[in-house]
Homo-oligomer: 239 residues x 2
DNA sequence: CGTCCGTCAAGAGCGGCGCTCTCGTTTTGT
DNA sequence: ACAAAACGAGAGCGCCGCTCTTGACGGACG
């Protein structure tokens, strides 16, 4: 973590930082497919082959950007939850809505990075294990809200729903362990469904599926998230 | 529709068909980014520039594949609904589940095509108007189920949910007109939310977000769709 | 102090890509 | 029969990821 001792190590770390920064700017402009090591080198006044001293391949640079992206989204989600939780830790519905909005707003502000994280996988790219750990960061926030809400007895089941079949018990157990969501299978299944709905809604808006139909994205999103929150059992505020 | 009269026109139509067929195979193998006009030409024993007589650019070929994809998915969804509707037109929950399963199964069978339709937009590609019409085909089936269910009085509202805010009335109206979903705003909003949840769930499974956690994708999917069906007000069968 | 080895930037080059332009040839419609 | 349109082939432009070689530089050690 501390700056490397030798001058070489220091300049090396700086160059790596500069490369990823330019790459992030390229990503924001042209998307993942437009990310070009040659263009980065050009912008740095280097020759393209020199970049390979720092990133052995384009995919390795992509991995760095993906991890950064997951962390940025995760941090935004954490901030959103903390902002509500600080004042009213029991306002679980508000916390859920705040988290959903944070995801949407981060996605709208960084569309290409969101596409990199949750869009079609980059062909030929195999996500290394480092990325899957970073990918869980925002999910943990979300799991915490559901867990705390249930512990507080704040989950009001929403009408008669089919119970979780035993076939998904093992999967729900893995989710429980993976992100620390300590709730029964029924609640976990509803939470996963709502979570998928959140990202599906953001994807639809961002990728243009809603084009020319849903114009007031924010209003629709808020209402949609309120409905999904109710599916979990959360009381969401009127929007 | 009938074969062109002149020999040239006939061979032209055949060549276009052969190009799209090879392109579809390339798409299934390598994904949209791996689609290469040069490779297609090579496989056809032509020189690359000759392809441009038939498709003026790579994007135009992509457009053809996208329209084909929407139609294939739409047809699969129509078949799934018709299979249930023929016997039991009032089994709205079963029809909803059948449609959801059709989407998932088509996506699993044609992952790259699904990614082309619902994944990150191809950078620089601007969807022409032809594609958006084709994109509505599966949605119409889905809208028909919800509309018929409501007309039959088969929608049992699921507990107390926030009512649709007036801010989304115009958007819901556009959806009503666009896909022929003749239901009030409250129902339309729930339907759109469930619909987003369907594609979010399929995307998560297909793009690897569920990696190593949800192993029995089918069981989780069925239960998730049952929950979303209940959100609309449909009675879904035990799975 | 001098040597020596690891690190580095640079350059040339490979095969691939989308796309354009030209040039003969073939087919079509008149 | 002849002009016009359509066509395949070829060369070429600028881009890409990636590899290999070469020569210079600098910190570590004898």
């Amino acid at each position: 973590m501390s700056a490397g001792r030798t001058a070489r190590e220091r300049v090396r770390a700086e160059l790596i930082a500069e490369i990823t920064e330019i790459a992030r700017r390229q990503l924001a402009t042209d998307g993942a497919a437009g990310l070009s090591l040659r263009a980065i080198a050009r912008e740095m006044g280097m020759v393209s082959s020199a970049i390979y001293r720092y990133f052995p391949s384009r995919d390795d640079l992509l991995t760095a950007l993906i991890i950064d992206g997951y962390n940025a989204l995760g941090a935004a989600v954490e901030r959103a939850d903390d902002a509500v939780r600080g004042d009213r830790p029991d306002a679980f519905g508000e916390r859920w809505l705040a988290v959903c909005r944070a995801v949407r707003e981060w996605a709208l502000a960084h569309p290409h990075e969101f596409a990199l994280l949750y869009g079609s996988p980059v062909p030929g790219y195999r996500a290394p294990q480092d990325t899957v750990a970073a990918a869980l960061r925002d999910t943990r926030v979300y799991a915490r809200i559901v867990t705390e809400a249930r512990a507080a007895g704040a989950l009001e089941p929403l009408g008669p729903c089919p119970p979780a079949p035993s076939a998904i018990a093992a999967d729900m157990g893995r989710i429980r362990d993976g992100v620390g969501m300590d709730v029964p299978d029924d609640v976990a299944a509803r939470a996963v469904t709502a979570w998928s709905g959140l990202f599906g809604t953001v994807s639809f808006e961002l990728f243009g599926t809603f084009n020319n139909t849903i114009m007031d994205g924010a209003a629709h999103f808020d209402h949609s998230m309120a409905l999904l929150g109710r599916l979990i059992g959360l009381e969401t505020p009127r929007t």
